[in-house]
Structure formats: structure tokens, C-alpha cells
């Protein structure tokens, strides 16, 4: 039921999903409602992309479990899916690369759907390449393919300011070329943060801030803590995920110590590079 005048959007959420919680899933629902409410967008798909083990975050359990839990969690969803590409890479993959990968996949699927028309295809491709080369306007302006936007919480937006966690050009690409949908968590003010960063301010039109009026702070950290202490996590995660966690005895004091003495992959990668800090 797509309105021809709306832009098609696919939402991509990257993260540890360690484990996936109802809050992650709510983020998708809130984002979809918000975008469609503007009358400009039609959200056709959601993608959950759990990070690979090479990210080396403390307490990160095996990707195979995290992907499976996300799959169980989204079984009942008609539009949210899980993609394991990122988790299967042997090295940590920058978010911008993950987005590019998924965008290329989306384009490929769109082109396969078009009637076999090499002229039309070539023309489209050339336009896109020109835009990519020349400016950072959102790709939706030059193609009638779907737009891919990064879906995240305000904490991710604010993490753009952490030195050596992101490359400046990656941030510019994410907000300039693709777009960001940021769901506010309690206690953060994304508008203020956007205002304080020249890069973000420049592309503020591509940053959609979704206010979560009802605080829903189910963080995966809290869930892991509760599990370590033998407390119930029912109704914080989908039932099937609660069962999976129990069956596989995931999340103990031991699992939380994983990578305790290891440096997070982005820091490892960028520590030598000289990066500008946000002004």
C-alpha cells in the first residue's frame, strides 16, 4: 500500500544486540510511525545488523547467539528482519561500510525488479555516480530507489563526539548521503548535540529526531545484569529470546568479563590517525 508520492525508506540498525530487547524493537516501531506520520515516507523494511565479534566490546557474546536471538525476536514482525553479513566478517566493519553494503544490495534488488532496460539502467547508474562524486545530497534525490537510513538511539548520535570512535568523513557520509533516524532516550537532548556539531548541523535536514514520550529504558546492559543476578527478564525481551537465553545459559559473570582487557576495535584502528574533534 505505497503512496506513489512518498519516498520508500529502509531502516538499518547496527549495534551489539547483546541481547536484543523490546526497546530495540520499539525503536523500529517508533521510527516507522514517525516517518510515515510526516506523509513523506513509506517505511518498507527494517534491518537489524548485529556487530561482529571482532568489535571486542566487553561482555559481547558470540555473534551466532546474538543473530539467532534477533531472529527469534523478529519472527512475529512483518517488516523487521535480521542480516548476518556484518557479523560474519572476520574484521570489525565500520558502520559506514555496513550501510554502503546494504545500500548496494537494495539497489541491486531494485534494478532486478526493473524491466530489462539497459539504457534506463545505465543512465540511472551514471546519475548516481555523479551525485556520489560531486555532493553529499541524499541518494533518494537522484534515484527512485529506496532510501536507507541509519536507525539509532541518541547515545549513538552523541558517540559521534567521542574521539577516535568515528572517522569524520564517515559521519559526514552517514548523515549527508544516507540519513539518520534518532530515537531519543530519556535524559538526552539530540537537538542540542546536533546544534553543537558543524557537520551534523549542516545535514540536520537528514536527521530525524523521534521523541519517545514514554520512557522505555530497557538496556541490554541492565538485562545482562539482571541475568547475572538470577533475576527475571520476562517481558523485557520477547518470550522466545528469554527461553533461548535460559536454554543456552547465556550471560553470566564470566561472559561479562569477555574482552575485559582488550581495546575496542574502532579505537584500535583509529588511535594513530589524527582526527579532528567536533567543534
Amino acid at each position: 500500500m505505497e503512496n506513489p508520492t512518498t519516498s520508500k525508506v529502509v531502516l538499518l540498525a547496527c549495534g551489539s544486540f547483546n541481547p536484543i530487547t523490546n526497546m530495540h524493537l520499539r525503536m523500529f516501531e517508533l521510527a516507522r510511525d514517525h516517518l510515515e506520520d510526516t506523509g513523506q515516507y513509506s517505511v518498507i523494511k527494517g534491518i537489524i545488523s548485529p556487530v561482529g565479534d571482532a568489535y571486542k566490546k566487553k561482555g559481547l557474546i558470540e555473534a551466532s547467539h546474538r543473530v539467532e536471538m534477533a531472529r527469534l525476536a523478529t519472527e512475529s514482525s512483518e517488516w523487521i528482519t535480521v542480516d548476518s553479513w556484518e557479523s560474519q566478517q572476520s574484521d570489525w566493519v565500520e558502520t559506514s561500510k555496513v550501510i554502503r553494503h546494504h545500500y548496494e544490495e537494495l539497489l541491486a534488488r531494485e534494478h532486478n525488479r526493473d524491466d530489462v532496460d539497459t539504457v534506463k539502467y545505465t543512465k540511472k547508474r551514471r546519475i548516481e555516480e555523479n551525485y556520489i562524486a560531486s555532493s553529499l545530497s541524499p541518494l533518494s534525490l537522484c534515484s527512485d530507489g529506496p532510501q536507507l537510513m541509519l536507525l539509532c538511539g541518541a547515545d549513538v548520535l552523541e558517540s559521534f563526539g567521542i574521539p577516535n570512535l568515528w572517522k569524520q568523513e564517515d559521519i559526514a557520509e552517514i548523515v549527508g548521503r544516507y540519513g539518520l533516524v534518532c530515537v531519543t532516550r530519556s535524559g538526552s537532548d539530540p537537538h542540542k548535540f546536533i546544534n553543537q556539531s558543524d557537520d551534523l548541523w549542516k545535514y540536520r535536514k537528514n536527521i530525524h529526531v523521534v521523541h519517545e514520550w514514554v520512557t522505555n529504558d530497557i538496556s541490554a546492559t541492565h538485562v545482562r545484569r539482571a541475568l547475572r543476578r538470577g533475576r527475571s527478564v520476562r517481558y523485557l525481551l520477547p518470550e522466545s529470546v528469554v527461553r533461548y537465553v535460559q536454554e543456552h545459559s547465556l550471560y553470566s559473570a564470566e561472559s561479562e568479563q569477555k574482552n575485559a582487557d582488550v581495546v575496542l576495535a574502532p579505537f584500535q584502528k583509529y588511535s594513530d590517525a589524527s582526527t579532528k574533534t567536533e567543534s
Binding site: N22, L25, R26, E29, L30, R32, D33, S76, S77, S186, W213, V214, T215, N216, D217, I218, S219, H222, G230, R231, S232, R234, Y235, L236, P238, E239
Partner: protein
């Protein structure tokens, strides 16, 4: 070893209009907490939706609220829905509902204890104490004791002294303050168990109904089966929210001109 633990049943009274994941969380949090005191073994949980006679604005018929609660609790092996309160002809005071359930629980206990002993009298021994029933609620419930006309003083007294409260803190409300500000609660503070909910989850039935009216998603806030039920029966619209508009809550009417009730009802 649970031999010296008091068997405990938790009773939650409320509109459950509709039941939400947060309601069900209350039971989980309360059970974990009471168990961790070392003194209790939580053996059951009861959801008791209020009757239509309560007269609260936006309250949909009890039969729907009961059905939704049943659907939501299908996956629970210890919490059940009870229809007694919703079936009473008039709104029932919380304490009366508690007396009913406690009586029922004691009877069941006596019957099962009777099967294990030949004594005609059943004594609760240290290794097998009488089961207790406590009221499970959120911090907003505690604050409601202050609302004039909503509660009879004697009832509040009986509630905390005879039964006890398990109160789960919600959002920014501080139940410790409500206990501090009420002499009755303060006097029986040892029977008022405060459970800290570290995860701030302000999902309320009010918000759910608002989202439904606006055609916004409530997935992952209430069980899928309940969402389906709501859509099937077209509950929670602007019309349904206006039900009982302008009507005073039944407790305020019923208790306005009544003399203070005594303990024996």
C-alpha cells in the same frame, strides 16, 4: 531450603485497561524481591481486574479486560486472572477483594494440609506457615491513599497491617516518601515492601490507549495476542475513551456518606 519460608501470593487489583508488559513485569520484580528477602516463597500471582462499576473514564467492559489478561498470561506458569471482583454487582473495595482471596487461599491450604495430617485442627508449624496474601502495586497506588474519599482509613489500616503491600517504584515517584507522609503506612512500614525498578519504564495503559487511538504501534509493549484481540474487537477509540466522562469514581460516591466500617464485614 524453603521450609521456613512463608508461602506468599501476590494480588494485583487495577483496571488492566488494557494489561501491559509492565503489569506483568511487576509480578516478576516482586517475586524476585520477596524471594531474595529469604523469608518468602512466592507461590502464586493473581490479576484481579476491577468491575465496570468502578466508573473510571475510558474503562472498556470487564469481559474484554478479562479476556485480554487471560491471553497475556497464557505464557505464565504462576500468574492467573481472577474474575470474582469483576463479577460483583457493585465496585468492591480492595480490602474486601483481599479478604475474599485470602479466605480462599487459606481454605485451599487447610484442605491440602488436612490431607497430610490426621488432626482436625490445622496448626501452622514453623516448617509450614500459613500462606500470606499481599497486595502488589505501583508507587502511584500508594500515593492514592492520600486522595480524599478514595480510601477508608480502616481499610488502609487493615491492608497494611493484616495483609501487607509490595510496591514497585515507577519512574520518578518515590514510594519511600508516601510511606513517610502517612502515619498508617509508617506504623506498618515493616509490612510495606518497596521494590526498586531500575529500568525506567513508564509504559502505562493510558499511553497504550493513546497510541491505539492515534493508530501508532504498541507492539513489544503489550503481547501480540492482546494487540490482535484489541483490533478484532475494535477496542480503544476516541469513543471508548469518553466512556464514563463526567462520572465520579464509584468509590468516591459509595464511601462519601458511609460510616467507617469495622473490621468484621
Amino acid at each position: 531450603m524453603a521450609s521456613c519460608r512463608v508461602p506468599l501470593v501476590l494480588l494485583a487489583c487495577g483496571s488492566f485497561n488494557p494489561i501491559t508488559n509492565q503489569h506483568m513485569r511487576l509480578f516478576e520484580l516482586a517475586r524476585d524481591h520477596m524471594h531474595s528477602t529469604g523469608r518468602f516463597e512466592v507461590v502464586g500471582g493473581i490479576v484481579s481486574p476491577v468491575s465496570d462499576g468502578y466508573g473510571k473514564q475510558g474503562l472498556v467492559p470487564a469481559k474484554h479486560r478479562i479476556s485480554m489478561a487471560k491471553l497475556a498470561l497464557q505464557s505464565s506458569n504462576w500468574v492467573t486472572v481472577d474474575e470474582w471482583e469483576s463479577q460483583q454487582p457493585d465496585w468492591t473495595e480492595t480490602v474486601v477483594t483481599m479478604r475474599y482471596h485470602h479466605g480462599r487461599i487459606l481454605k485451599e491450604y487447610e484442605q491440602s494440609a488436612g490431607r497430610h495430617s490426621d488432626a482436625s485442627e490445622n496448626f501452622a508449624s514453623p516448617s509450614s506457615p500459613f500462606p500470606q496474601l499481599k497486595l502488589l502495586c505501583g508507587a502511584d497506588f500508594l500515593s492514592s491513599f492520600k486522595i480524599p474519599g478514595l480510601w477508608l482509613d480502616d481499610h488502609v489500616e487493615e491492608l497494611v497491617q493484616r495483609f501487607g503491600l509490595v510496591c514497585v517504584s515507577r519512574g520518578s515517584l518515590q514510594p519511600e516518601r508516601a510511606v513517610h507522609e502517612s502515619d498508617t503506612l509508617f506504623r506498618h512500614r515493616r509490612n510495606v515492601f518497596l521494590v526498586r525498578e531500575w529500568v525506567r519504564n513508564e509504559t502505562s495503559a493510558t499511553e497504550i490507549r493513546r497510541a491505539l487511538r492515534r493508530d501508532q504501534s504498541v507492539k513489544y509493549l503489550i503481547p501480540d495476542s492482546v494487540i490482535e484481540y484489541i483490533h478484532q474487537h475494535e477496542l480503544y477509540t476516541e469513543d471508548s475513551e469518553r466512556r464514563n466522562e463526567g462520572t465520579a469514581l464509584r468509590p468516591l460516591i459509595k464511601q462519601a456518606h458511609q460510616p467507617i466500617k469495622s473490621l468484621d464485614d
